[in-house]
């Protein structure tokens, strides 16, 4: 197992380098000159030169990249073009809301998806299976922001069980955090729950037809033990793969759901940065998100090795 982790970590390094280069070059190639935005349309040539010098835009591209990378490795992602906020501080301030929203919805989709999928698989073509399949279709078809508005309307505005907007940091009040995160996480987790339920159902139906399930039953193992010890572990292998894709989807969806619930997460920061062409900010946000996604993939690979002996390096 240690070897698997080491292998994956090593493989991440070149990937990280490539991604950082792409991030840097793509944002550097954005049309328009950031100096235009800073100076307005009545600036002189000298003023332009001064701003370019201050932002380092007069340097050659590759040099800028190397300098940026050097600082990034040390945890310094530069300073915003427009206010002297350090990118790292801005991201660090906004990321907890986004990450906790994503994690909460992952948790919700695992719980909902697994139980619905297993319940459906145990009795194929029964009413519970039909209900779960129908629910999964609806769940995947409903856009998360719309579901979010619906949830907010019912549970926040009418029933007043949860706040309609805002985010309470966990450190400030764990209970407040939970109640502020519940509705957005439900809204965000809906389609992933549906995707996981479908995957669990089909994987489980397949596994339950395997001879080792028949063999285990014939050996006198209880149905519960066969379902949870033998079948579920094998059925989870494809589910883990789907989940790892879904985390990326969730992270993207979080940016929209944040907007619906007026949560100051990374989403609003990113939108503002793109609008202003705040290049260091965009680069910083993208890099951090990419690293989160890569960390998720690493966890997936490790989890995969844990549940599937065939995925372990010999």
């Amino acid at each position: 197992m240690g070897r698997l982790i080491a292998q994956r970590l090593l493989a991440m390094l070149p990937l990280l380098l490539i991604v950082s280069f792409l991030t840097f070059s793509l944002t550097a190639m954005l049309p328009g000159d950031p100096a235009d935005l800073i100076l307005g349309d009545r600036a002189t040539e000298a003023q332009y030169r001064m701003v370019h010098e201050r932002l380092g835009l007069d340097q050659p591209f590759l040099l800028r990249y190397v300098q940026w990378l050097q600082r990034a490795v040390l945890g310094d992602l530069g300073t915003s073009f427009f206010n002297s906020v350090r990118v790292m501080d801005a991201v660090a301030q906004r990321i907890p809301a986004t990450v906790s929203l994503t994690l909460a919805s992952v948790l919700i989709s695992i719980v909902v998806g697994l139980s619905a999928g297993v319940a459906a698989a145990l009795r194929p073509r029964s009413w519970i299976d039909r209900l779960a399949t129908f629910g999964a279709t609806i769940g995947q078809a409903i856009p998360n922001f719309w579901f979010g508005i619906l949830l907010a309307g019912v549970f926040a505005v009418n029933l007043r069980w949860f706040p309609a907007t805002g985010y309470t940091p966990f450190g400030q009040s764990p209970l407040g955090w939970l109640s502020s995160i519940t509705l957005p996480a439900l809204a965000l987790g809906l389609s992933t729950s549906a995707a996981i339920a479908r995957q669990v159902r089909s994987a489980m139906v397949g596994v339950l037809q395997q001879d080792y399930v028949r063999a285990a039953l014939a050996q006198g193992l209880s149905r519960r033990r066969v379902i949870f010890k033998h079948a579920l572990k094998n059925a989870l292998i494809p589910v883990v793969t789907v989940l790892s894709f879904q985390v990326t989807v969730l992270l993207g969806g979080a940016l929209i759901v944040e907007h619906v619930f007026a949560i100051n997460g990374i989403g609003s920061l990113a939108v503002a940065a793109v609008r202003q062409q705040d290049i260091p900010m965009i680069q910083g946000i993208v890099l951090v998100l990419v690293m989160i996604v890569m960390a998720v993939q690493l966890c997936t690979d490790i989890l995969y090795g844990l549940i599937n002996p065939k995925a372990r390096p010999a």
């Binding site: 063999a215 014939a218 033998h230 572990k233 599937n308 002996p309």
Partner: protein
């Protein structure tokens, strides 16, 4: 001495699940089957696919309910145990299935697979289980050092040995072998059959050996039963059934094995072409299930279902050709 397993008049029925508003339709996979297996002996059960062999196995293992009839194991009626077998019975009937690639759980180590029955049915401690698992591996000719490996690291034959080790773990009195070698290549088949035979000699286990290869079954069985579309058409001592089949279907099964001599094989193929038989095995609506394919079918066969007639050299066959009255009228 009474037999270890006595199956009398057992019917296994599956129900189709139609859409809304339609009644479920029954399908009789096994009809009024009667079989017996003596302690420490092997009963070979042969027949083409869909003949109900595996349904008998599943019924015996308690995996599908028995529609009617009695199924005794060691004096207890299994057919009456609708809520699953009690552990004492469960422990004593084990199974080995056809496909060793799907019958072993790929997420478990060999040690876990082999010792799981002990873990579930006995109070054995972890260390003892480990030791017993090692013994079981040597018993089936595998290296006990491989306990920590996973099934995907083994070949088909080795995997089947692991499955057998697991089935032997509780020292059962009966092992249901559902096509244990059909997924293996021929050289491995013999090794596994020999292994099964040797363990039977030592441990006195009875086997229900299900296969479609009559020659292979003959090799290791004491008695052979032949099934056709849910019916047991012939049963008797292995040598008698193999060398002197009494039922036309058993003869047809034996004739299906190609001959080594090309000249004789060609001759036989020509003979076979002259007989017109439907390709799809479908039971005749009335009378003997085999009557629509049988070259000897008489009018009576299409009306009446033949009972099991005693065969002179031992066993029974469900065919009117054995009826004394028929013999008289034909001569």
């Amino acid at each position: 001495m009474s037999d270890l397993v006595e199956i009398v008049d057992v019917t296994v029925t599956y129900w189709s699940r139609p859409g809304l508003g339609l009644r479920p339709k029954p399908f009789h996979a096994v009809k009024n089957a009667t079989l017996a297996i003596a302690t420490g002996k092997t009963l070979g059960l042969v027949g083409e696919s869909g003949s109900g062999k595996s349904s008998i196995a599943n019924a015996l293992l308690g995996l599908v309910p028995v529609g009617s009839g009695t199924m005794r194991f060691d004096g207890q009626d299994l057919a009456a145990m609708t809520g699953g077998y009690p552990p004492e019975v469960r422990k004593r009937i084990q199974a080995v299935f056809q496909d060793p690639y799907s019958s072993l759980n790929g997420a478990m180590t060999v040690e876990q697979i082999v010792s799981e029955p002990l873990r579930v049915h006995t109070e054995t401690g972890a260390e003892d289980r480990r030791q017993r698992a090692a013994e079981l591996l040597s018993l089936v000719g595998l290296d006990p050092a491989h306990l920590g490996r996973y099934p995907h690291e083994f070949s088909g034959g080795q995997r089947q040995r692991i499955a057998i080790a697991s089935a032997l773990a509780l020292q059962p009195r009966l092992i249901v072998l559902d096509e244990p070698v059909s997924a293996l290549d021929v050289s491995t088949q013999n090794q596994i059959i020999n292994l099964l035979y040797e363990r039977q000699e030592e441990l006195g286990i009875a086997y229900l050996l299900i296969a479609h290869d009559l020659a292979l079954v003959h090799h290791i069985s004491d008695r052979i039963a032949v099934m056709y579309l849910g019916h047991i058409v012939e049963e008797g001592p292995a040598d008698r059934v193999y060398h002197a089949p009494a039922h036309p279907y058993t003869k047809a099964l034996l004739d299906a094995v190609p001959l080594l001599d090309p000249e004789r094989q060609r001759q036989r193929r020509a003979e076979r072409k002259r007989e017109t038989v439907p390709d799809l095995p479908r039971a005749a609506d009335r009378g003997c299930a085999y009557s629509n394919r049988c070259p000897f079918a008489m009018n009576r066969c299409r009306v009446e279902a033949p009972p099991a007639y005693a065969v002179q050299e031992g066993g029974t066959a469900a065919c009117f050709l054995l009826d004394e009255n028929e013999k008289e009228t034909r001569t």
